[in-house]
Symmetry: C2
Subunit: 433 residues, 2 copies
């Protein structure tokens, strides 16, 4: 990425830089989009991040914005949209042949809100089938033999590959944080259901969260502010009290991910940050099974129409998952929901005096092969906890692929998460340079 | 209703009776649908419960079921669907000119699940504009000068008017319980988000719940069991410990609603039921304002597309409501969500030793006039509490219109609610006859 940055091409600029440049008249919205389109033309045959993508449509949006000046927060900033979010002017195919060419009548709320904030919807990015685990064709921009992660595969890969600065993902298990970590970008899953989910094909309404991806933390802050209508589009850095949370998966975590977290702890301590060990209650390990029960049962219910009419159009893996969901007893489903609520109610004492927790984002760097998207367990139980989660790309693995660290805050404490993350990011960046 | 019941017309039978009759070969699915269609033809010009309704399509479904015998729980039972739930074979217009003729590509999950259980989707019932407060043309079957309640107006009126035994509604404030009470039927709002909401146009995803309507409690139990895939489609009556909960609205509650609850308390005590007074904590009164904040803000976010593209197609009242939502600060929205969570966490101690609470369903009987649907406050805070709620038609008001009593249970305790309600219903019915 550093080489491209040196060129100062528009496509490599951050959303903050692009919005500022457009507002200052340094370049037009059309300039920005043209440059992103050129980058996509150059890289797409390797990265394969897009499922639907129409340069003329993107340019038309940019020209319309150039004709009607405004002070909208994202004016002229290109955004990629995971192909499970509806768009009124582009197909929404959900990574499934069942929905090939499907045209929704309207925009998902998150898409409409970003358009209202001046964003250019560049196109639809590759998703695993129905935001599940059956991958599309996207490759990891750092090494095309490795998975970009999923299910928000195309969004993560396109942002990492400098095709545009911002993208939407969704997370039910680990579908924002894991691909962001694998592709070396910043991924943010807000507190459950705080970015409106209308128009997102649901996997599990008890878990689904619209998330954001960018290369810079300040871009995440800007993007979030624009979607929520906040007046402040930036946040000050806040020195946090940090809980080092190995989680019940520590022994299964790869060396590079453990090292990334341990290095961050060391650097933060050197910077005078109070870092304490935080252990999750033992029964939190039961969330792994509970997450699976909720995910499978909710998917089976939400896809009752496809199950009845298009079963042959589902991948064998998804058919198995839906059958698993159909076979789950309602009482077991309720017990899983109750476990999630119980664990959520205990999070305040888990955090104690800490502002944020620091944990591995993923098991390790992106695994080799495009037939899977990596293990969602490192992200899934946090999703069930409904806490806001952020991954920062701080390290590299044995194959020189990116490795992230995960920061988490209490539910609804997203601004503390983001301002604390700024401090963490500044500290770790200062250390490395 | 009693006259029609005496005729033993199929349209006046309960879902349990219809399913049993079809299964026993006493009549065909087509017989059932024909009889419902005749009833609709007779009554619709007064009741105006339907927004989209195609006799041929309903008959075709019935004939298809007759050709392929099964032991599905709802085989041959006609169901009305509130017109905010998607149907692949009928328009879904959401009570708005913006969506006139709109054809979704698939069924809402609840619709698909009921079809999979053998139900006949009879048609789409009138909803207030986007399940809000701007009414459609439906009248109260007990007196066409009075509102049927809303927003599930057509579903409640059609069930009450013996057009079919079962209907879907949705409740964000009081949109299932209030029309059920006004029309003199049984309305059931399950624990939040336990009937899958995919394909329902959202008002507020933090509040929206798919609910069920029927004339008989056993029909609600059957309908719920079919949707959730439960093996037991009936429940035994359970003598509950009851909390008499006047709520913070008691002084604003009309005499007939207070009387209905007090009469029920007396009858239950006579039947040996332990009824204790239960008071809500004082700060629960703040839920009224919190509910409005969440409702307005979520609607504004979810309808960002309509706001951008079709503002002129919204009613003035809804435009005002969405503007109110746009003006709510994110911090105030989060504070409202937090208040809801806090109150939910206190419900266990509110219930104490009680199995269910008994409270007024609505302020009183259905008000006169079709330009409003009544006051949602008697139902709205319970919706924010996410508890399962049921209304039983036990009484009459000064205009001889129905008045219900509301039963509530702890979250996820829906089976206890329903089995307790059976005991309450049997006790009150025995008293009256």
């Amino acid at each position: 990425m550093s080489a491209a940055h040196t060129l100062q091409a528009l496509h490599a600029l951050s959303a903050v830089e692009l919005a500022r440049g457009v507002a200052a008249g340094a370049f037009t919205c059309e300039d920005v989009v043209r440059d992103c389109l050129a980058r996509i033309a150059e890289r797409e045959k390797i990265t394969r991040a897009w499922t639907n993508f129409d340069p003329d449509k993107a340019l038309a949006q940019a020209r319309a914005l150039d004709r009607s000046p405004s002070n909208a927060a994202l004016r002229g900033v290109p955004v990629g949209v995971k192909d499970v979010l509806d768009t009124f002017d582009m197909p929404t195919e959900m990574g499934s042949p069942i929905y090939r060419g499907h045209r929704p009548s309207d925009d998902a709320a998150a898409v409409a809100l970003s358009r209202a904030a001046g964003a250019v919807i560049l196109g639809k990015t590759v998703t695993c089938e129905f935001a599940g685990q059956t991958p599309g064709a996207t490759t990891n921009p750092h090494n095309p033999a490795h998975t970009p992660g999923g299910s928000s595969s195309g969004s993560a890969a396109a942002v990492a590959d400098l095709m545009m600065p911002l993208a939407f993902g969704t997370q039910t298990g680990g579908s924002v944080l894991r691909p962001a970590s694998f592709c070396g970008i910043v991924g943010y899953k807000p507190t459950f259901n705080t970015i409106n989910r209308f128009g997102v094909k649901p996997a599990s309404e008890a878990l689904d969260t619209v998330g954001l991806m960018a290369r810079d933390l300040d871009d995440i802050i800007l993007f979030r502010a624009a979607l929520l209508g906040l007046s402040a589009t930036s946040l000050l850095s806040h020195k946090p009290r940090v809980g080092f949370c190995r989680t019940y998966l520590w022994d299964e975590t790869a060396t590079e991910s453990r090292g990334a977290v341990e290095d961050a702890v060391k650097a933060l301590r050197s910077a005078g940050v109070d870092v304490v060990d935080v252990a999750l209650p033992v029964h939190f390990a039961e969330m792994r099974a509970a997450h699976r029960v909720i995910d499978c049962r909710d998917r089976a219910m939400a896809m009752a129409y496809e199950w009845a009419h298009h079963r042959e159009g589902l991948s064998p893996a998804l058919r198995d998952r839906l059958q698993e969901g159909c076979d789950i007893a309602h009482a077991d489903y309720i017990a899983a929901l109750r476990l999630g609520e119980r664990c959520r109610s205990e999070m305040d004492s888990v955090f104690g005096a800490c502002d944020i927790l620091l944990a591995p984002t993923a098991k390790g760097e992106a695994p080799k092969g495009l037939d899977q998207t990596g293990d969602p367990n490192w992200q899934g139980f946090w999703t069930l906890l409904h806490v806001p989660a952020l991954t920062l790309p701080t390290s590299k693995g044995p194959n020189n692929l990116p490795v992230g660290i995960q920061l988490l805050a209490r539910r609804y404490d997203d601004e503390r998460l983001l301002s604390s993350a700024k401090f963490v990011w500044e500290t770790l960046t200062a250390k490395r340079h």
